[in-house]
Every structure is written in structure tokens, then in C-alpha cells.
Amino acid sequence: MVELVGYGLVLGSILTLGAVGLTLIYGIVRFANFGHGDLMTLGAYLALLLTVRIFPALGVLDRRLGSLSFGWVMLVSFVPATLVTGLVAAGTDRLIYRRMRRLGVSPVMLAMASLAMAFILRSLIYILWGPDFHFYTPGLRPMLMLPLGLKLRPDQIFIIVTSWVLVIALYVFLQRTKMGKALRAMADNPDLARITGIPTEQMTTWTWIIGGGMAAAGGILLGIDSQVRPEMGWILLLPLFAAVILGGIGNAYGALVGGLVIGVVQQVSTQWLMPAYKPAVAFAVLILILLFRPRGIFGGS
């Protein structure tokens, strides 16, 4: 049981990275981005491209970092992979969603377009990389025995630490910087934000870059924890929405708590249910929230 809670925290940390971006986009751009899971997948594949193709082709030698399963090449790859994913997300907004907003299309059709984007991204990944599973690095990954009967791999501790560092960085950004305040103002009331002179289109672009980048980071960490495969992000879509709605739409701190709760609930459920039902468990939690606390545990933005 303690073990499962440990795995739940790992999964929850990964979910959190997806959920904070999803909730920001939901709160600021105001539609449910069904392509968010596939942005995570894209990030994971870009890191795969860098670590197993581009850096080795450049003759860069990699050495494992301590007892982690990967080396510094992975750490270096993190930056371009998240950045490119963020730019892809922002580019999609420019090319598709912004045009639709200007045509006065309803937010529901934007959500439909994002579902189309999910399929487009995934089909491109299938076409370019094929349906097989990939690993960043081959070989076994030993477990560490921790106090309280907790068993985690060094990689998994890295995952928890990295995602928390990123979430804290986002917290500081949203609380302390002018742009962060502008973003929160937009989530609160877009019309009021525009009247006070906040460049809302520019802020929307930044929302996509941040949300896409965070999603990519989550995808890479998921790839480190298990494997890289085309459906990896799509499977997380329901847990992501469960985390977002649990935390209250547009509430980045709520998404953090929501991600961890959903992650732990999903993993602990495997004590009684087949692991294949993990998304269904997240969905059941989601329905309970909708029935009893439709504005999330902390209320909406």
C-alpha cells in the first residue's frame, strides 16, 4: 500500500505538469484543450529524437548521472524539447484557434478543433516514429529501499523533484512577476483585463508556450518512468481533466493538489482493480466531483 502511494506520487507529479497547463489554457483561453495529452506525447518524442538520434549523431558521449538511468544529455535535451512543444502549442493557437476566435466560433468548436489537433499530432507521431514502444536508455533500473517501506527508483525521485521545482517556478512566476499577474487577471475576468490595457492576445500566446512546455516536461518524465509510446498522453487525458476539475478550472494551485490526488487514487486502485481501469478510476472521481463539488474543492478561478 505504501509502495502504491509512492508510485501515485510519481504519477501525480507527472499529471500535475500536464494539469497546470491545461487549467491555465482552460482559464485564460477558455476552452477544454483535448489535445493536451498529445502535447505531452510530442514532448516525450522530441526528447527521444534528441537523446537517441541527434546527440549521438553529433558524437556526443553520454555518461549516466549517479544511479539515474540517464545522463546529462537528457537534462540538456529537456530545454529544446519543452521549448519546441511550447512553440508548437502557441503556433497551433496562431494558425487555428485564434482565427476561429476571430470568426466568432463558439468555444465548443474550439474544443472540437483541439480534438482534431490531438489526432493530427498523434498520427504524425505514428507516421514518423511508428507504433513501437521506445526507451530513452536501455537496461535495468534498480529500486531504492526507503524508510516507511517506500520503494522507488532513483529516476522516480528525480521525477518528483523536477516536477515540483517546475511547479514552484510557475508559482513564483504567477505570483511575483507582472506577466504572471496579468495572466491571473485574464483568468479572473478577460474583459476587465483588456480594459486595463493587458495585451490579451500576447498573453494567450504565452499561456500556450507555458502550458505546452509544462506538458512536454510531464511527457518526458513519463517517458523516463515507463516508456515512450504514441498513446501515452492520450491515456492521461481523463486523469488530467479530473485533476483540473478537482482543483477548480483556471486554478493552477488547485491543479497541483488535483494532480497528486488523482495520481495516488489511480495507483492505489490497482490494489483491487486491473491497471487497465486506471483511467476509469480517474473518471469515476471526476463524476463524483461533478456531482458534489462541481466548482472543484477550492472553487473556480
Binding site: 476552452f31 477544454a32 483535448f34 487555428i96 482565427r99 476561429m100 470568426l103 466560433v105 468555444p107 465548443v108 468548436m109 474544443a111 472540437m112 478543433a113 480534438l115 482534431a116 489537433m117 489526432f119 493530427i120 498523434r122 498520427s123 504524425l124 505514428y126 507516421i127 511508428g130 507504433p131 492520450w234 487525458l237 481523463l238 481533466f241 476539475i245 486491473m274 487497465a276 481501469y277 483511467p279 476509469a280 473518471f283 471526476l286 463524476i287 461533478l290 456531482l291 462541481p294
Partner: protein
Amino acid sequence: MEIIRILHFLAGFAVMASIYAIFALGLNVHWGYTGLFNIGIAGFFAVGAYVSALVTSPLPTGVRADYVQQAIGLNLPFPVGVIAAGLISGLLAIVIGIPTLRLREDYLAIATIGIAETIRRVFNNERWLANGPQGMVGLAQPLADLLPRRYYNFVYLAIVLAVLVVVYMALERGIRSPWGRVLRAIREDEVVAEAAGKDVFRFKMQSLVLGAVIMGLGGALYAHSVRAIQPSVFTPLFGTFIIWVMLILGGSGNNKGAVAGAFIVWGIWSGTGYFIDRVIPVAWAARAPFIRLLVIGLLLVGILLTRPQGILGEEKQVSRMM
């Protein structure tokens, strides 16, 4: 003989396109007329297909029982299976509607996609229910002895077209009735409809159930057409997304558009499959389906950006009195 073969091929195409047209009509009730954002069509599709399969097939006996498991097997005739499929699918809609129809429209979307994924997982993992990932094979076909076996597509096409015409006529009547006007009023502005004294929740529930019943019928017709169903068929792509592309391309809020969209998109889907199979190298064969998926995804984005109302657009419904 050659002409017969071509006609037979076309009949097979028309069977599948007509079944998808039935799904698109069901979605048109939800989205086109009421504004219910259902992206879990695959769930109703799967339930319809499996219910009819379980109702019409006998329980396996003898050697077959060793490798085929199913919870029930009533061995009832085809029409009973189709009707049961519609009813159970409608019941499922009530269960989904209760927690979600009072909430924001995007919550219904998330709930329906969740139900669809859950249903697929249940059929995949609970082998006792309907034989797990292998699914059910050898489903009964109605009027199988009417014509020689190789002409069966024509027989089945007649059955599917009959259902399609009945559904289409019923919807055209319903949508022009006062009831249909309330649905469109809810789609345009829920608050105004509520203020006019309409019980919005009840009308939305009726719409959700009616659309789901139609989708359930479609699922049953699909199952008996292909005669073999597995959980892997009812994916978000094949069971939901392609139907949305059909409705949006044809024109949501227009039943003729829904039917036309189904035939066009099914034509593109089948055509690209035929084309890609001949063009791409063998080594890429495993990736071929995803090229088709890409085409369908780009098609939807293209329509949304250039002609969001679809080819036909919404049909104007004005009172005869005006």
C-alpha cells in the same frame, strides 16, 4: 458479371455509409439541434453493437464454450436485438445525463468521452461479459437465405436504408414540431428558454436519450453487418471523431447535411485507404492507417477554418404561418 461485382462493392460501401449516416443523425439531435457536446459516441456505438450481439447469439456450447465466453446469449431474432440495442443505449444516456446535463456544456463532453473509454475497457478486460479482446464473431444476419450468399450486401442495404429512412423522417417531423423548436431555443440560449418556462433539463435529457437510441440502433446494424465485433473497433477515432467530421462537413443542424456528410467522409476514408495501400511501400504498411487519420484530422480543421457551417449549413426552419 463484372457489373454485378461493382454493384456489390458499391452496395457494401453504401451499407457502411448509411450506418454512419444513422450515427450522424443521432449526433445531429445532440449537437445540431440541442447543442449537447457529445464526444463519446463510441460508447453508445459499442453498447448498441454488444447488446444486439448478446441478444441475438446463442450461448456457446460444446468445444466452442471452451474458448468463447459471454454473459448472456438469448438467441432471439435480429429485430429484437436492434430494438434492445436502442433501449439499452437510451438507458445509458439517462445515467450519463443525470450528473452532467445541469452543468456546463464542456463537462458533458468530458463525461461522454470518459464513459466511452470506460465501456471499451470493460469489454476488453471482462472476458466473461463478451469474450474480451477477441470479441464476438459469427453474428446472425437477417434474411440470409433470401438471395444467394454473394448478393447479401443488397439485402442488408435494403434493411439499413429502411432504418435510415424511418429515422430521417421521424427526425424531420420531430424537429419541425413545437418540441423541436424548444430544443433549438435551448441550443441558442438556455437562459431564455428557461425564462420562457421550459424545463431545460427535461428537454435536454429527451434529446440526449433520443440521439443515444439512434446511435444504439446504428451500433446494432454495424455489428450484424461486419458479423464480428472487438473492443478495438470502438476507439475515439473510429467511433466518435469520424462521425463528428461527417456532421460538421455536411452541416450541423441539417439532417440532409448529416446524411450527405456521412457518405462524403466515408468515401474519403475508403478512397484514401484504397489509394494509400497502392502507393506506399510495404515497410510503411503498419503506418498507413495513420496517414488516413491525418487526412481526416486536417479535413476537419480545414472545414472549421473555411466553412464552419458545413457544406449545406443549417436549414432554415420557419413557421408555415409566416
